[in-house]
């Protein structure tokens, strides 16, 4: 998890279009300036970052569905529940499951687990739109390769 650049997924563990499921790993940083304020003497990962981590996880699943032709922009967060503290050094298992592919939007159900225990969950809706620029698309494809996106699903850049 690279909080400072808002890249919150370390690695894709598995991704299946057929099953509509993606699982990712992410390690909560031991040190971060965020903990100076959140909170002094009681460092915990902000809930907004947990929700974003679920959104980024779901985003990889949706990119697989759109074959990197359209990018998912987070639009709605429903039923978010932050059940327990997530603290420095924890190893997160991020899961996103496809609930529905609509016309121009996707809806997913997501959760974050630590040692098999659900720490938080939410449903998210994304609008899918053409990539705003070719450079952006190329950067997303490069990031897909870095996080272990299934090679057979990654298009050639350009």
């Amino acid at each position: 998890m690279q909080i400072e650049v808002f890249i919150l997924v370390d690695r894709i563990r598995s991704l299946s279009i057929e099953d509509g499921l993606v699982q990712c790993d992410s390690a909560v940083p031991v040190d971060s300036s965020i903990y100076l304020g959140h909170f002094p003497g009681h460092p915990i990962l902000p809930g907004v970052l947990l929700i974003e981590s679920m959104a980024q996880t779901a985003g990889w699943l949706i990119l697989a569905h759109t074959k990197f032709e359209r990018f998912p922009f987070l639009s709605i967060v429903n039923e978010a529940k932050l059940r327990d503290f997530v603290t420095p050094g924890m190893q997160l298992l991020l899961e996103a499951r496809l609930l529905h592919e609509g016309s121009g939007f996707f809806k997913t159900s997501n959760r974050v687990l630590v040692d098999g225990k659900v720490k938080c969950e939410a449903e998210t809706t994304f609008r899918v739109m053409p990539f705003p620029s070719p450079v952006f698309r190329e950067n997303v494809i490069a990031q897909a390769r870095r996080v272990g996106f299934p090679a057979e699903l990654v298009p050639n850049a350009g």
Binding site: I76, N78, H100, G102, S103, G104, K107, T125
Partner: protein, 93 residues
Amino acid sequence: MSTTFDTVANIISETCDIPRENIKPESHAIDDLGIDSLDFLDIAFAIDKAFGIKLPLEQWTQEVNEGKATTEQYFVLQNLCARIDELKAAKGA
């Protein structure tokens, strides 16, 4: 068995917290009920699920933007319900 309109009206009422009695067949979802495009995503999801269809929102939006259709054709509820019935019939055909 509830009608298409009843199902759609209940979805809109629950999704957007609009009193059910204010939702009528002649209501325009946008102009009369104040539903915006984001709220309509939730509504479309619920309608898709309820009827086992996929509302072609992108196609409708494109037609409206290009002047080939009016919002009334798709977003006045009785017209929306007619479209849903068409999609249901096409699915069953």
